[in-house]
């Protein structure tokens, strides 16, 4: 940049009718590629999913497609496997979102302090994010095997009383999946919160110090309000991603779905229905239910967070 920004006087609007008309045309021209992509690959399939969910559409079938009303929804809601996935999803989100956000915030605060080697620590915490989930899942499967390293550590901590067959157990399979997910995802949230932390004005901390505020008090009254928007973003995105849980539950257990469906999720159910059974109509119903659920949770969350902050 050679133009000294400061020296430019408040610029006269570069208008003129011709320019303005040209601007609208240019705008649509520049937008066209992205809009086409969104229309073809997001909007169209979404509309199609809604349509399919009311039909008996199959991936490949000699039979003609028929409108069957809400049958797909009824059979989905009557399917214990779907509910199993739903409950697992809710448990997963309910635990992973707060734990992961809390841990990410803790990490962000740690690497935001002015200490030696903070960049090295930040890089290390972020490394799992740049590991492909499929790879991480296989590695963790080994570490979580009954005589693996996780149990070696657990054995020491619990004096030999606790060494479950993580992925083969109906009780511990889902927690094991949570552990891997948190391990892989936290670094990303940390970076976002770190950026938010660095935006909190230093003066606010100094003012709080003058008022005699301790570390905790400063965190509560300066840091948390200062990074509110970052936190909202992190919680919202983590929630959506947590609902989408699929890769780990597909790869890690011996059979997809885990022992007695202990790790079945809605996405796994959708893939098995749509791809495995090729019942596209029913899978579309699952997709629509899933979308409505995530939308509802996101809206409730936003509203809740807003009110919380306003009150």
């Amino acid at each position: 940049m050679t133009t000294p920004v400061g020296s430019v006087a408040p610029a006269p609007p570069a208008t003129g009718r011709g320019w303005r008309q040209g601007e609208a045309r240019t705008a649509w021209l520049l937008s066209a590629p992205a809009l086409l992509g969104l229309a073809a690959f997001v909007v169209a399939p979404f509309v199609l999913a809604v349509v399919f969910s009311f039909t008996n559409q199959r991936l490949i079938s000699p039979l003609p497609t028929r409108f069957i009303g809400i049958d797909n929804y009824l059979s989905t809601f009557g399917d214990p496997a779907f509910w199993r996935g739903f409950v697992n999803n809710v448990i997963f989100v309910g635990i992973v979102v707060p734990v992961q956000t809390g841990l990410a915030l803790f990490l962000a605060v740690l690497v935001n302090s002015k200490i030696r080697a903070r960049v090295a620590f930040r890089t290390v915490y972020f490394l799992p994010v740049v590991t492909v989930m499929a790879t991480a899942a296989v590695t963790w499967t080994l570490l979580l095997n009954p005589s693996g390293l996780v149990n070696a550590v657990m054995g020491v901590l619990s004096a030999g009383t606790f060494s479950p067959d993580w992925l083969g157990s109906t009780t511990y399979a889902l927690p094991a999946i949570m552990l891997v997910s948190i391990w892989q995802g936290t670094g990303f949230q940390m970076i976002i919160l770190l950026a938010a932390l660095q935006d909190v004005p230093e003066e606010l901390y100094e003012a709080a110090e003058l008022d005699g505020a301790g570390a905790w008090r400063k965190f509560r009254s300066v840091t948390l309000p200062g990074i509110r928007n970052g936190l909202i973003f992190v919680v919202t995105v983590t929630t959506i991603l947590a609902f989408r849980l699929f890769d780990q539950v597909w790869i890690m257990p011996q059979i997809p779905g885990g022992p007695l469906d202990a790790t079945r999720t809605m996405m796994l159910h959708l893939v098995e229905t749509g791809f495995g059974e090729q019942a596209i109509g029913r899978a579309s119903a699952v997709a629509v239910i899933f979308f409505v659920l995530v939308l509802a949770v996101t809206l409730v969350q936003r509203r809740f967070i807003r009110e919380e902050a306003g009150g």
């Binding site: 940049m1 133009t3 430019v8 610029a11 609208a24 705008a27 937008s31 590629p33 992205a34 809009l35 086409l36 992509g37 969104l38 690959f41 997001v42 169209a44 979404f46 199609l48 999913a49 399919f52 991936l59 740690l110 972020f126 799992p128 740049v130 492909v132 499929a134 790879t135 296989v138 590695t139 963790w140 080994l142 095997n145 005589s147 693996g148 390293l149 070696a152 391990w183 970076i191 919160l193 950026a195 660095q198 990074i227 509110r228 928007n229 936190l231 973003f233 989408r244 890769d247 790869i251 996405m267 893939v271 749509g274 791809f275 596209i280 579309s284 997709a287 979308f291 995530v294 939308l295």
Partner: protein, 278 residues
């Protein structure tokens, strides 16, 4: 010891412990990729798991490459991720810029629509997309793995917020010099937005490189399959050669690692200056 040094020591202890938690699976993976297959599992319960001994050199890597046609999959992954990232940078930044800077009828509505689309999970679209892909004969191709991910509402939004923060005076100056919106964008605004481009490129590369669900659905043979799916071939064809699997995993992670370490400065900067942090 004063209380501040004690706090310091405590903080370092916490940070080291956490570093160990995030590092140990990776160390285990890389160490295992250099040792005999049989020892990978049996060493998994002790510190031996973290040492590449007895060292077998690149033997596992050679095996993995031979067994899973790594070169082919690697090339496929590069084509797919490269296509998504490069096309995505152009397309998404153009719309982001348009929404942030140009005045035209329908702009507000368009912006609201883009934001609403952010929450549509891809998984909810996968089934009808699969149907459409089959209908158009797109199965087992590169473009079926690239085109659906080029236009990305989240990335459009990131560019939008970034461009909003570029001081308007800079652009006005270019306009007074007679540059139209396109030239202003290409020669003035886009170069300023390097951190935003870097952030979106890294995020796009990360998301696309590890993609699993969609390739499982739309590809069958290895001809166009990306690397992430190759790991499955090891588990299905016995005997399980854990050393090979770990070598494969290490190979698959390497490009991401390189990209991240090269661009991490820009990345953190980009996150800080864009809308990601809210």
């Amino acid at each position: 010891m004063t209380s501040s040094t004690r706090a310091h020591v405590l903080q370092y202890a916490a940070m080291l412990l956490l570093a160990a938690f995030f590092l140990f699976p990776l160390v285990y993976m890389y160490a295992s990729s250099f040792k005999p297959d049989a020892l990978v599992l049996s060493d998994a319960d002790s510190f031996a798991g973290f040492l590449p001994t007895p060292f077998v050199g690149l033997e596992n890597y050679a095996d993995a490459i031979e067994r899973a046609s790594v070169f082919r999959s690697f090339l496929n992954s590069m084509i797919i991720s490269g296509g998504i990232v490069v096309l995505g940078l152009v397309v998404n930044s153009l719309l982001g810029y348009t929404l942030a800077r140009l005045r035209f009828r329908g702009r507000t509505l368009l912006l609201a629509a883009v934001i609403a689309l952010i929450i549509v999970p891809f998984e909810a679209l996968a089934v009808p997309l699969l149907y459409l892909s089959a209908l158009f004969g797109w199965l087992d191709t590169y473009h079926v793995q690239i085109l659906p991910f080029v236009a990305n509402p989240l990335f459009i939004y990131l560019f939008y917020t970034f461009f909003l923060n570029v001081p308007a005076e800079i652009e006005e100056a270019a306009r007074i010099d007679g540059a139209g919106p396109v030239r202003t964008f290409v020669s003035v605004v886009a170069p300023l937005a390097r951190p935003a481009y870097a952030t979106v490129a890294i995020l796009g590369f990360l998301f696309s490189w590890g993609q699993f669900l969609w390739p499982v659905m739309v590809t069958r043979g290895i001809d166009v399959r990306p690397l992430a799916l190759g790991i499955g071939t090891f588990k299905t064809t016995p005997p399980v050669q854990w050393g090979d699997i770990m070598a494969y995993g290490a190979l698959m992670t390497l490009p991401l690692l390189v990209v991240f370490l090269l661009f991490q400065r820009y990345f953190v900067q980009g996150v800080a200056s864009s809308g990601v942090k809210g």
